[in-house]
């Protein structure tokens, strides 16, 4: 036949074109991504919120915090110094900082400029309401040998405003300055811990960087250990590195395990070396999937690769469809066998694609990627199985082993025996009872943390660092919007009042807000006005010998200080911690963030923002978890929709009743899997639900195979068994993944496949005596 000639050639041309496209896509290295945030719904309600989120996340993905700990303080400092030098020289970091080299002149200047704008509320109130006490305290501080030091010399600040500003800076954490070395040191667990901060050149989503940084850290760890120095490190980069290592390990295990298992199965069943060529469609499928995914998204996520490696088991089903005909078709020839099974193959491709593509309509980019990857992969596998493989297998005479067939026959006999004792309706009732009881026990659980298989060691180190330093940043923050800066500072002050209460109650460790750094213009005005009364109260200062001219001069300087705006206040070195909080001007006005430390009750925060205009709590993780729950419902709807589509598709070949029956079986299988999850005490997650969505699509195949009964029930069951086994080999292996989401997915697909196989024979029962 001519098609036997041009089909392989045409396909080879297509394959070459795809290969060329792949080569072009990989020209700059692997287009892989490990950014978890790319996998979750990204559309934030507005641009401002999005940019605020990015601002808050940036340090997580670029900064590494290291504690260098030793019982010998000097050893810890020396190691930190050495580490700083080595890391700086590594070329991976933009900045490695282990000690403070403060610019004192700049600090002094900022304090002098900010005398009115930065004075804290308590000091302001005292100056305005109790000027006598204010002056008295100043006199006292001039005599005080222990607390009187100020960065600014007395003659530049007789009123002592800068000293008060220094003292009112928010204290954070339990890190102390070691004045000799300039190191920041915390003491805990009988050790001195020197704080070292490193900022990388790239971010955690660069594919190479996290691994390099993790490697360097490991090396440094070992070197430090030889001096009895312990390193603790925390960074988003380390999570990314471990995620990448884990992904490649799992791809190797899942992909390798499935491949080996499938090849072995092929050899055992068909006893011909050339039958291993059936793996060609699998390779082609992976290639198509990867190319489509990169073409669509620009890059491919490592999680897609892990989940996508399960495609191996589905792709190999196409060649299996006609290879398994060798048990009934004698002699077996590749092209005739293909022609015989082509309608079934095509239907199977269509139903599987519908199942996978249903995933694409969820709001999760993660699932869209998997859907695109898998659908394209299946098309590739189908095309190569239909166009190329028969040509490759031409002239092969298959004489398969008889033992698989006898197993299938035995299984059918057992089923018959069972049905004679317990008729189908009774079995169905039992099954439904099993389902009902299982569903009763099923719990639902959705958390973004299931997506991250965070190694316990990383978690433990991050917790130790939080405990030792007292820095406990939280992912939630407040976004405050206003028409102008005055209003913004007012709104932040209103929020601060509420947060202060939480701090006093011990519910919150602390927070950072711009109104701590700069007073509202109104407050600055008020303070300036209050200065006029000071000459009536400053007699004690005159008595010390301070000349009246000097005081008058200082007063004149203070009154001439320009009103400080947020930008002015942020320019000095003291403003460093606040700088990222300012979002600047936007079309609607201005906006800033309030960051939080050491939160132990997230729901309290939501209440704080209530009835404060312009104040909004941004809780990305909380929001995501809510999206997860909402998506579960839409996933269930999608599942039903995909079933309707499949029924419509199957009406033509099988009639309405047949189509309904074919679809009812996978649905029942899915229900059984859900119940099994309940019995096993496993939670229902978004991922297990998607797994079941997929099972419905795949197992429609088994029902079709069984219903068609080409070559008899035993041969059909054998074909189904082989297909289920290969699919199970790849999905079942996902269950061992250390990422909870992936393993949950693997488990629910495995369960679904098992039930689909068990239920499949009921698809064909009505074929010969339709009701």
């Amino acid at each position: 036949m001519p098609s036997e000639r041009w089909l392989p050639r045409g396909f080879l041309i297509l394959l070459l074109a795809v290969l060329a496209l792949a080569a072009w896509q990989w020209r700059h290295g692997a287009p892989l991504s490990a950014n978890l945030m790319e996998l979750v719904p990204g559309e934030s309600p507005d641009a401002l919120e999005l940019s605020a989120e990015q601002r808050m996340q940036e340090p997580l993905n670029r900064e590494m915090l290291v504690l260098v700990g030793s019982a010998d303080r000097q050893q810890a400092i020396a190691t930190a110094r050495q580490l700083g030098e080595v890391w700086q020289a590594s070329g991976l970091f933009e900045k490695v900082q282990w000690n403070l080299q403060a610019d004192l002149p700049a600090l002094r200047q900022q304090l002098l400029r900010g005398r009115l704008a930065m004075l804290a509320e308590a000091d302001r109130t005292q100056l305005i309401q109790h000027p006598d006490a204010f002056i008295q305290q100043r006199v006292q501080s001039l005599f005080d040998p222990f607390t009187g030091f100020s960065l600014v010399p007395s003659q530049d600040d007789w009123l002592g405003l800068t000293g008060r500003i220094q003292n009112s800076q928010p204290a954070r954490g339990s890190v102390q300055l070691d004045i000799g070395s300039g190191a920041l040191i915390a003491d805990a667990d009988g050790k001195s811990w020197v704080l070292l901060r490193a900022r990388t050149l790239g971010n955690a989503f660069d594919m190479q960087l996290p691994l390099q940084v993790a490697g360097l850290l490991e090396q440094s760890r070992q070197q430090a250990a030889s001096h009895d120095v312990q390193l603790l490190a925390a960074s988003g980069l380390l999570y990314a590195a471990s995620g990448q290592q884990q992904a490649s390990r799992e791809i190797t295990w899942v992909g390798g395990g499935a491949t080996l298992g499938i090849l072995l199965l092929l050899l055992l069943a068909f006893r011909r070396w050339r039958v291993l060529l059936a793996f060609v469609p699998v390779l082609v499928g992976m290639l198509f999937g990867a190319v489509a995914c990169v073409a669509w998204f620009g890059s491919m996520h490592v999680m897609t690769l892990v989940l996508g490696s399960s495609l191996i088991g589905v792709a190999v089903d196409y060649p299996l469809h006609y290879l398994s005909k060798s048990w009934s078709l004698k002699p077996w020839r590749s092209w005739p066998a293909l022609r015989l099974t082509l309608p079934g193959l095509s239907l199977s491709l269509a139903t599987s694609c519908i199942g996978y593509l249903a995933l694409a309509f969820t709001p999760f980019p993660a699932l869209t990627q998997i859907a695109i990857f898998s659908a394209a992969g299946l098309v590739g596998a189908y095309l190569s199985a239909v166009c190329l493989l028969p040509a490759l297998l031409k002239g092969v005479e298959l004489r398969p082993a008889q033992w698989p067939l006898s197993i299938a026959q035995t299984l059918l006999d057992i089923r018959e025996a069972l049905l004679r004792k317990i008729p189908t309706p009774a079995l169905l009732a039992l099954l439904l009872a099993f389902c009902a009881a299982g569903l009763w026990q099923l719990t639902s659980k959705n958390d973004i943390r299931q997506w991250v298989g965070a190694p316990p060691q990383l978690m433990a180190e991050a917790q130790a660092i939080a405990r030792i330093t007292g820095y406990q940043p939280t992912s939630q923050f407040f976004l405050v919007r206003a028409d102008n800066q005055q209003q913004l500072l007012e709104r932040q002050a209103a929020l601060s009042e509420r947060l202060d209460q939480l701090v006093n109650m011990g519910k919150l460790q602390g927070y950072l807000a711009l109104n701590q750094l700069v007073n509202q213009p109104g407050a600055q005005q008020q303070l300036r006005a209050a200065l006029d009364q000071l000459p009536h109260h400053w007699q004690p200062l005159l008595e010390l010998g301070v000349s009246e001219a000097a005081l008058q001069n200082e007063l004149a300087q203070l009154q001439a200080l320009p009103e400080q705006q947020i930008d002015d206040a942020l320019s000095g070195p003291l403003a460093e911690p606040w700088r990222p909080l300012w979002l600047g001007n936007n079309p609607e006005g201005v906006a800033a963030m309030v960051s939080l430390q050491g939160l132990n009750n997230a729901s309290l925060l939501r209440v704080q923002a209530q009835d404060l205009p312009g104040v909004q709590l941004v809780d990305r993780l909380g929001d995501l978890n809510r999206v997860f729950a909402a998506t579960q419902i839409s996933a269930a709807e999608l599942k039903l929709l995909s079933c309707v589509l499949i029924v419509l598709l199957l009406i033509a070949p099988f009639g309405f009743r047949g189509a309904l029956r074919i679809v009812a079986l996978p649905l029942l299988a899915a229900l059984c899997s859900l119940a099994s999850l309940g019995w096993l005490g496993q939670p229902l997650t978004l991922f297990s639900l998607f797994g079941l969505l997929l099972v419905t699509a795949i197992s429609v195949d088994y029902a079709i195979l069984m219903r068609e009964q080409i070559g008899g029930a035993a041969v059909s069951l054998l074909g189904t068994l082989l297909a289920a086994l290969t699919t199970w080999l790849s999905f079942g292996l996902l269950a061992v993944s250390s990422t909870p989401a992936v393993s949950n997915f693997g488990l629910s697909v495995s369960l679904g496949l098992a039930f689909s196989f068990i239920l499949a024979p009921w698809a064909g029962k009505q074929e010969h005596k339709p009701c």
Partner: protein
Amino acid sequence: MSPKSCSSELAREMSGRFKKLAATGFVLMFLCSSAQAFDLQQLSTQLARPQVIHGDFIQEKHLRALPKPLISTGTFVLAKDHGLLWQLKTPLQQDYRITAQGIARRNASEWQMLPGKSAGAEQNRLFLAVLQGDSSGLQRDFELQLQGEASHWQLTLTPRSVLLKQIFTRINIDGGELVQRIELQETQGDSTLLKLQNSVSNQPLSDAEQHDFAQ
């Protein structure tokens, strides 16, 4: 997870800690009451000897913009196992206490820890190191230079680090049989002179003093 508060941290720290270091400087010298050799090692071993020292002080604060120094006087008690009581009598009355827990100030009859300084573990450690006769703590941050004889000697502390050099030029401590003078020279031109007089090391802590340390 990023402590960004470098500069504010620094500003806060400086407001108290550097002065405290200076305090540590003279504490060292209280303890050098019977220095017989001019070897720091030997000086150190003698630091721990006296259990309690009582004495008077005169503090002269020389601010370069003031024609005359700010002078204050009072008494002090240094107890090896407890810490230092610093009792300012004129021109105003104020009691201070330095212990392992930090610096406290007496308000009415209550001792109140000074905020932000209470956790000054670093300086307190240094202070205690000195109390226990360990000069290595000081040697880390300062160059120590000892001159003169047992009856009249001078110790000069020159800061080692860039950070400290921006605060102090040096600290001079003079002593004879007992410590007599401590002078802190600040980089910005101000200086503080502490004259210690009538120091005695043969009186135990009074009940009131013990009570003050115990609180």
